[in-house]
């Protein structure tokens, strides 16, 4: 499992807000960084991987911890 460089807490936010948070933050970090988006809106499970595909970023997978689901995204470019 990858250790994230940063965690974005988007719990309680409805889509598209968690996707927007990831889209804002990722480009501010160095290429190769991993951001974990914590989101309890079930739509995030669909929309964060879809955003990665549309933007050419890498979706690493979903981790389920005590904080609820987290979606790991790596900046590729």
């Amino acid at each position: 499992m990858t250790f994230p460089d940063e965690v974005l807490d988007c719990r309680g936010q409805r889509c598209p807000l968690p996707v927007i948070a990831a889209a804002r933050r990722l480009p501010e970090l160095p290429v190769g960084s991993v951001v974990r988006v914590l989101a309890d809106d079930p739509a995030a499970a669909v929309d964060i991987p879809a955003w990665c595909r549309m933007r050419g970023q890498e979706f690493l997978g979903t981790v389920t911890g005590a904080d609820g689901p987290g979606y790991d995204v790596r900046r590729r470019h």
Binding site: P16, I20, D41, D47
Partner: protein, 430 residues
């Protein structure tokens, strides 16, 4: 008398239930005497700047002119209970028989295979639960695609709650059934029934029904096809054992469904005993609506090929122009194997509900499978199964009254609406 007049009069504020018939009748008589457009129509028109553009035929198509004619005629002639033994009842029975024969002939099935139901949902419930019940000695597994309509999925949930099991079969990114997975699933032991939507109501992708039916036939599993989005629009592929449809999707009245159970299919009514509709649908049918449904089905089917040829290029145009004119948009569904009248796209970073409201304010009626518009807050299971963006989702569906000008106006206004919402949310440069 136009559809708008009826809608206008019924939707006007009223004092109570008892006020509806009196006001409705009085209103119509006044208007018919005067021979002019009603104040309600003027009011309705006054509230929107340009004339409204209705683009949600996949939910309910505006009634075909034949629907209105048949409904009014059948209200006069077909109000009696067809099961009774007096003259009015015999007249109603004749109308019901004629409606059944007309609908069966249009679908190319036998009249005794077809029953009317109170909706497409009720028909799908009957198809699933009755198909499972009829084969419970074989097993208790229901195989279904991951993109069935909620009517099918809710019946499946009930089946599971009662100890049965389900095998959902995935689709690809374009929303097409995974045929090898389907063939493997129907081959498994204990499969009582397989269910496949003829074409997706959310993204328009046409399913490989003939191939799926072949896989079912090889192992003797009956196939239920939910034809709600195809019946009256495109030919239904062969090979099914149970077929359902919904009249308000083809321009018939709301509240009429079709349930067709092929001769020789093991199907048992899941409802308490009742003699109506060969024991397949309990309760008296809404005969005027049934007559209107059958008459409009025949009319819609007669025009279907020409309508498909007219609408498919408009859908092509929407697919191309939305992709070109709206930044960060995903046009979803199969670009080739799809319904002629339905197109869906998702706009990145846009809230689906806000988008529908913004379009409504400009007079465009469209719908969405997006999470943000459903009460459950779940993303659309169809978009989820396809793995495509589920927020900012819009489904546009055309019908016989849709003009090229309507589509052009939508295409002209959409990019600005999306840009405005993105500017408000501060997401323009992401």
């Amino acid at each position: 008398m136009t559809g708008l007049t009826v809608v206008g009069s019924l939707s006007a504020p009223i004092g109570g239930i008892m006020a509806i018939p009196a006001r409705y009748v009085g209103f119509r008589e006044r208007e018919e005497r005067a021979g002019v457009a009603s104040p309600a129509v003027a009011n309705r028109r006054g509230t929107v700047s340009a004339s409204p553009v209705y683009l949600d035929a996949a939910t309910a198509a505006p009634p075909h002119p034949v629907t209105r004619q048949a409904l009014l005629a059948a209200l006069d002639d077909g109000w009696a209970d067809p099961a009774r033994l007096y003259g009015q009842a015999r007249r109603a029975r004749q109308l019901l028989d004629a409606a059944r024969e007309a609908a069966a002939a249009t679908l190319g099935v036998r009249a005794d295979e077809l029953s009317f139901t109170p909706s497409g949902t009720a028909a799908a419930h009957s198809a699933v639960l009755g198909g499972l019940l009829g084969r419970r000695r074989v097993g208790r597994v229901l195989v279904h695609s991951a993109i069935e309509h909620s009517a099918v999925l809710h019946a499946a949930e009930k089946h599971v709650a009662e100890g049965g099991s389900v095998g959902p079969v995935p689709v690809d990114r374009l929303g097409r059934l995974d045929l090898p997975a389907w063939s493997a699933a129907v081959r498994a032991p204990g499969v009582a029934l397989a269910a496949l939507i003829a074409a997706s109501h959310e993204v328009g992708t046409v399913q490989p029904v003939a191939e799926a039916a072949e896989a079912c036939a090889e192992v003797g599993v009956p196939l239920f096809v939910d034809g709600a989005q195809v019946v009256g629009r495109v030919p239904v592929p062969a090979g099914w054992s149970v077929l359902t449809a919904s009249a308000h999707k083809w321009g018939g009245p709301p509240g009429v469904g079709l349930l067709v159970v092929r001769k020789g299919t093991r199907w048992e009514s899941p409802w308490p005993a009742d003699e109506r509709e060969s024991g397949r649908t309990p309760g008296v049918v809404n005969l005027p609506a049934v007559v209107a449904a059958a008459a409009s089905l025949r009319a819609a089917a007669a025009d279907a090929a020409a309508e498909a040829a007219r609408l498919a290029p408009l859908v092509d145009r929407i697919r191309a122009r939305v992709a070109a004119d709206v930044p960060d948009v995903e046009v979803v569904g199969d670009p080739d194997r799809r319904l002629p009248h339905l197109v869906t796209f998702s706009c990145l970073y846009v809230d689906g509900e806000a988008l529908l409201h913004a379009l409504d304010r400009r007079g465009f009626a469209v719908s969405s499978g997006s999470s943000c518009t459903s009460s459950t807050l779940r993303p659309s299971h169809v978009l989820e199964a396809m793995g495509v963006l589920s927020h900012g989702n819009v489904r546009v569906s055309l019908h016989r009254e849709t003009t090229e000008a309507d589509v052009e106006r939508f295409l002209a206004e959409l990019p600005g609406v999306v840009a405005e919402l993105r500017a408000e949310a501060g997401v323009t440069a992401l």
